[in-house]
Subunit: 457 residues, 2 copies
């Protein structure tokens, strides 16, 4: 089938996915099980149900069901901002003077500004269905908190967000978006929780951390009747919901007879990347097709490219279960960087296993080069990307420039996860020539890796 390819491919509503794809079902080497840190044994459904919604807990542990129905209520919500466009970057190609064909799947056309909404609405739905009163979560830069606030407003659920205090103060606009959607936003550490009180007492004047906010949100969930804790990345359930990105991408490409050679996504916790690549990885796993797949991470927080594949805690406070993943160590403190969504010490256990098995590649890039690419993208394609997304833009441009040298007409598709409207402080630093690159030393990484939990496996 060959039709003229429009600038933007929008699927019809009846072409949108009705099921998420659970790539674990096709993986020969399954991701290692999550362990109870007390016993060292795999967690059971009963272990995690006090913290997670029931249906989400089941999805977290389900390694065998390849397709999971998307409930109609979620599909209705998806229709309000999806399908997201698959865009042919004609103007970027022209500016690069490359024979490569570049496509991007743009997830930023919703008020949360990113792909986070795809999972937020699913998590809110299951919480509502279970009859809960509300959910708790933490947020750093604010994208996840915004998405969850929107989802909870839609299902009339209470939404309690613990926002890292320095972000709460420095990013008042994100905070106000959440409040507009009715969320209660609390700067963390707060005096609402025992752990918050303790941290405030131990470290007077602290401006908080994501690890502390997670601990507060978990405590708030388990100590209130009818509440559960929800999380925006890393977990397998989140990656599952994000496969709507990859499924739409694949359907749109198939519709126009386009076959990608290279698929690129930025990787923080791994859920957007995992969601984009899952259907393509599935084909690789089943021997039906082959693709080059590249995970792009910041040089300041290089879990895949410089981390260790080992069991580790998911949070710096060490209160969560253990997951086997590429990690820099849960005590690793990434240097200040403007891609807040990529500053996580570990990587989704699914993405980690795919990387360990050689099904995907990984590369790391430095932030000045990343913003250079993002600025070029903004000027040619119009969209001002989020700092996180700029990582994928950088590598897509680099691959297109390689094609220019070799003359190859490769087809490149990358995930443009969101917009940078709330990240203009970062762009200002770049515009003023004041942005610097941070690369952790081998000693820094070795030091935090030395503190990995000691497990017999």
């Amino acid at each position: 089938m060959t039709r003229e390819i429009p600038y933007k491919i929008y699927l019809e509503e009846n072409e949108m996915p009705k099921q998420w794809y659970n790539v674990r079902a096709d993986m020969k080497n399954k991701p290692a099980p999550i362990l109870n840190p007390g016993t060292g044994q795999p967690v059971s459904l009963e272990d995690i149900m006090p913290v997670f919604c029931e249906e989400l807990a089941k999805q977290e542990l389900d390694e065998t069901t390849p397709y999971i129905d998307i409930p109609e209520e979620i599909r209705d919500f998806y229709k309000m901002y999806r399908p997201s466009p698959l865009v042919r970057a004609y103007c970027l190609e022209k500016a690069l003077d490359t024979p490569a064909k570049i496509y991007y799947k743009f997830e930023g056309n919703n008020t949360s500004g990113s792909h986070k909404l795809n999972s937020a609405i699913a998590q809110a739905y299951y919480a509502k269905k279970q009859g809960l009163k509300g959910v708790t979560t933490e947020t750093g830069a604010g994208q996840w908190g915004t998405a969850l606030s929107m989802a909870c407003a839609y299902f009339d659920l209470d939404c309690q967000v613990y926002m890292v205090k320095c972000s709460y103060e420095q990013k008042p606009f994100r905070r106000e978006v959440m409040r507009t959607y009715g969320a209660a936003v609390t700067p963390s550490p707060s005096m609402n929780t025992n752990i918050g009180k303790k941290i405030n007492a131990d470290f007077p004047g602290t401006t908080g951390s994501l690890g502390c906010a997670i601990s507060e949100a978990v405590e708030a969930a388990v100590s209130q009747e009818g509440y559960r804790y929800v999380l925006g990345s890393v977990l397998s359930q989140v990656l599952l919901h994000q496969t709507v990105i990859g499924l739409e991408t694949k359907t749109a490409m198939d519709k126009y007879g386009i076959k990608p050679d290279i698929i690129i996504g930025c990787a923080g916790g791994g859920s957007n990347l995992g969601g984009l690549i899952s259907p393509f990885v599935g084909e690789k796993l089943r021997g039906e097709a082959d693709y080059r797949i590249i995970a792009v991470e910041p040089a300041s927080c290089p879990s895949l490219t410089r981390g260790k594949y080992a069991y580790d805690f998911c949070d710096t406070g060490r209160v969560t279960p253990l997951a086997k993943m590429y990690t820099l160590g849960s005590n690793f403190m990434p240097s200040a960087s403007h891609a807040g969504g990529l500053r996580y010490h570990g990587m989704s256990s699914i993405v980690s296993q795919l990387y360990a098995d050689g099904l995907i590649e990984a590369t790391s890039v430095e932030q000045t080069a990343v913003f250079e690419a993002g600025t070029m993208f903004a000027r040619t394609e119009g969209i001002l990307p989020a700092p996180e997304s700029n990582h994928a833009v950088r590598v897509a441009i680099d691959e297109a420039l390689k094609c220019k040298e070799t003359g190859e007409e490769k087809t490149i598709v990358f995930g443009l996860t969101g917009t940078g409207y709330f990240d203009m402080v970062a762009y200002q630093k770049y515009n003023d020539g004041e942005m610097v690159d941070y690369i952790p030393s081998d000693e820094d990484i070795a030091k935090s890796l030395a503190e990995l939990p000691n497990l017999e496996s």
Copy 2:
């Protein structure tokens, strides 16, 4: 033709308009001509060509050509962010429990965050085609400056933006978006121009005004070789470009056999409203159909509902030609309000004439009621609207609630001109219960109207 109506109607690229529609050609009573303030005579093409680009000056004066081709280069750019979706507000309807069918045309899915880009790209194109080096403009809240910066980046034109100093300092993020697109953003009053130097000398420490920024931008245009001045609203050429909104809306509705009963838009300078309604007004003028059309303005700046239809200057500095329009007087100072884009003393001469002829209605609304509507819209439909857009949302909701009382299944369509991501200070005021309403007194309006230029007409 009856198909199931999707949440979002996207036209195919080949259904997008290839011509703008010039409603003046169908108006029996043409808008009054623009006058030279020195002579009191209608301006000629030669009069305005030193300030405006040649092709744009022609469009400004063209009252007879009904359809004007959209150059292919502009249509290619439109394809990067258009067609904009016509959305069925199923969730808002459900929340209101109304039998009305509500649609909105959403113009916010581009980095400028509003419809302004539709005219910015056209103006930049004609400037480039004329071989100019660059353009100058002023911006207050920053939407227009952002749109123009994007358009100039695309055509590799120099872009000089005079930004009202208080906005420059209070809205650094808008400023940084413009800089990211390569624009030179100067706080006004500056020391770049004679008028700026004079104002700085006369009023030390002033934080500027839109009137002053216009004067600086015009001076910068005429004093630099290869530059012209461009403007984002009010002018008939801008309204012409914005008809792409209404043409797409009409095509989408026709495609699904939808006939609107009521069409609603917010009105500041009048270009977005005029663009949305033009094709529908054309049908009214030609006796082919009838619609209720409602212009919504802020109670704080009510040019249509409380102003006078008279010749007036387009700027507070009184350096521009005279236009006949509904005006509050060019010296009218609207009270502080959060809908920056609607704080203009006059109204497009086309919209003014249509209103004088009874072809459209007008109403004014107060900002607390406006933000209440916007917050409800955000929570049900997901999109966080710009304060300006919230004015149309308010009246759309009010009309839908009337349908609930009467049981009428009216079809309502309104223009959702943009997103509020850079307006969170306003939402914060509303969230904190600190927003107040401003309504000018009859004395205030009478006072500024008393200073209208004295013309024999």
